[in-house]
């Protein structure tokens, strides 16, 4: 199912103007806080009446202000997972899950309860009350509640922002399974580079209400200039790879792609399992000759494609490695010493332990 969004809306000092299309998968809406992300999804959900907008999901027009169409929120059949789970305190987990299901016309229900309970691991929680759940459990129940309403589209507004690191790590794999197993488009709002780059197929970058960029995640990931300052160190390339082999003796997995092979710690899955890795720009070293006798396991060959300044003393160097991009942030001093320029052949050196891969089963 496809999603088209075109919104213009003024709210206080925010002047929101954003338009993008998605052909399914996870579309991340990314940007610093206050850039209009939540306003945008509230317009999609119908909770805010926009000045001008056209929103369609799978051919159904939800909002078209030029034609005077504005479907009420309860008629949109959009699943919305809020930052704070917003479970109904007077209902049990089971009651919360049944709530959305109950309002969905029988003919339009596609959500299979056993599978969703299993997917989110919430079957053991059914008799509990929301106040007895941990933050992570609440959020999983909230996702289940939204899915059981058989939505056409799932909106997730910073679903992990209120959770600590351990709880985030607990939920991320569930969202990945959701992306791979549920066929509806997902709009995922986040200010975290790590989440966006791990989950998204497409990324819409918002800055002060404007769409600064939109495109496939791998393309947006190379644009380090789009990353807000507070997340600056998290920027870096992502490469979609596949498991090639697992080294039992050393506990390493070898992933392969057109860029070459990359080792990551732990076991990820059987050969052929798709795996996306993120290589932070600040973790990448560049060398003009292939380094030998070095502890770093990953050495990728490429040519410098682009150099852009990153602050007074650093540059971002984008390396083209067999079609995939790797970005390195190095000092201007080093760039000058190595005489780097577009076209220069170079080697990117990355430690296996600094590559962010999908959660390994055992690290």
């Amino acid at each position: 199912m496809s999603l088209t969004v075109d919104v213009r809306h003024r709210l206080g000092s925010l002047d929101l103007a954003a338009a993008f299309d998605s052909e399914g998968g996870i579309t991340a809406v990314f940007g610093a806080s206050g850039c209009g992300k939540t306003t945008l999804v509230n317009v999609i959900a119908g909770l805010i009446r926009p000045d001008h907008a056209r929103i369609t999901v799978g051919g159904t027009v939800l909002t078209d202000t030029t034609q005077g169409i504005e479907l009420a929120p309860h008629r949109r059949r959009i699943g919305y997972v809020f930052q704070e789970a917003r479970l109904f305190p007077h209902l049990t987990v089971e009651g919360n899950l049944a709530y959305g299901e109950w309002f969905t016309p029988r003919a339009e229900r596609y959500a299979a309860k056993p599978q969703i309970l299993d997917l989110l691991g919430i079957a053991p929680l059914l008799k509990r009350r929301p106040r007895d759940l941990s933050g992570g459990e609440k959020q999983r129940v909230a996702i289940g509640r939204a899915l059981l309403a058989s939505p056409r589209l799932l909106l997730m507004d910073e679903p992990l922002a209120s959770l600590d690191q351990a709880r985030k790590a607990e939920i991320l794999p569930y969202i990945e399974r959701l992306r791979d197993e549920v066929r509806i488009p997902i709009v995922y709002v986040s200010h975290s580079v790590a989440e966006v780059m791990r989950l998204a197929s497409d990324v819409a970058v918002l800055a002060a209400g404007r769409l600064a960029a939109f495109g496939p995640a791998a393309e947006i990931a190379q644009r380090l200039d789009l990353i807000p300052d507070e997340e600056r160190d998290e920027g870096g390339a992502i490469i979609d790879m596949a498991v090639a082999a697992h080294d039992e003796a050393f506990g390493l997995t070898r992933l392969s792609s057109s860029a070459g092979d990359i080792f990551v710690p732990g076991r990820i899955g059987p050969a052929g399992t798709p795996a996306r890795v993120r290589i932070r720009a600040r973790d990448v070293m560049l060398a003009l000759e292939e380094p030998v006798k070095i502890s770093a396991l990953n050495i990728l060959r490429g040519t410098v494609a682009e150099m852009s300044p990153a602050g007074p003393s650093s540059v971002n160097v984008r390396l083209d490695c067999g079609g995939a991009a790797v970005v390195a942030r190095i000092t201007r001093h080093s760039a000058t010493a190595l005489c780097l320029a577009p076209g220069t052949p170079a080697y990117a050196v990355v430690k296996a332990v600094s590559v962010s891969g999908p959660d390994a089963e055992a690290r």
Binding site: P73, H74, R75, R86, F88, P89, R131
Partner: protein, 231 residues
């Protein structure tokens, strides 16, 4: 045992008071809910005027309220004359006592329910709408259950006010034994006759017991409802 041996007339006053207070409480509830919801959740022209009118019985002398009721709902009053065509009569009937009590208890009920509706997290209502609930269903399945402790409190306040209502009742429907003589007016009557002290004391004790009982029941119900919805 002399304390419990009531004369038939005294029994009548107790029974009538309970009937009048219960009817006043139950009849006010739907209206109070609607008004409380409007005041809590909607902005409309003349909202502060409506709010003022609702609270008027709380600040006006009860006698004034009773007299206004007599003027409008009396047999010669415009509303009273109109309703009399359909056989609905308030003047000097127990129904009039219930009406007076309902009007006097109304602001207390609206206030308790309104505060409680305002305390309901509107984000939960928005979540409910995204799950497919229309405005009416949102109210019935989310707002109403979460407001329950406030509704119970408002009902008990209204009931207690009705049990104790004196000024508006006696002005509007007088003090007719068996028809409009409630506990307070019966106590008042007894204190006005020689040798009525014992009877007044008995009714006073009953009055205290009923009020205390109502308070305890409401505490219990509100606590149970509150425990269910505590986040």
């Amino acid at each position: 045992m002399t304390l419990l041996s009531l004369t038939p007339e005294e029994w009548q006053a107790v029974r009538l008071s309970l009937k009048v207070a219960s009817v006043a409480m139950i009849a006010s509830l739907p209206v109070a809910l609607a008004v409380a919801w409007l005041l809590a959740r909607r902005d409309f022209w003349g909202k502060s005027l409506v709010n003022g009118i609702v609270h008027l019985p709380l600040v006006m002398p009860p006698v004034v309220t009773g007299y206004l009721l007599l003027l409008s709902f009396g047999t010669k009053g415009p509303v009273g004359a109109f309703l009399a065509q359909f056989g609905i009569v308030f003047a000097f009937r127990w129904t009039g006592a219930a009406l007076a009590c309902a009007v006097m208890g109304f602001p207390l009920m609206v206030r308790a329910i309104r505060l409680s509706i305002e305390a309901v997290d509107m984000r939960l209502e928005a979540a409910s709408a995204t799950l497919g609930a229309s405005a009416v269903w949102v109210f019935l399945t989310i707002t109403l259950p979460l407001t329950l402790p406030g509704i119970i409190a408002g009902m008990i306040l209204c009931f207690a006010k009705a049990m104790g209502e004196f000024g508006a009742t006696i002005t509007f429907v007088s003090n007719i034994p068996g028809e409009t003589q409630t506990l307070p007016t019966a106590i008042y009557t007894l204190t006005q006759v020689p040798g009525g002290d014992a009877g007044a004391l008995k009714l006073t004790a009953i009055s205290i017991a009923i009020s205390l009982g109502a308070l305890m029941v409401s505490e219990f119900l509100a606590r149970r409802a509150g425990a269910r919805i505590a986040a």
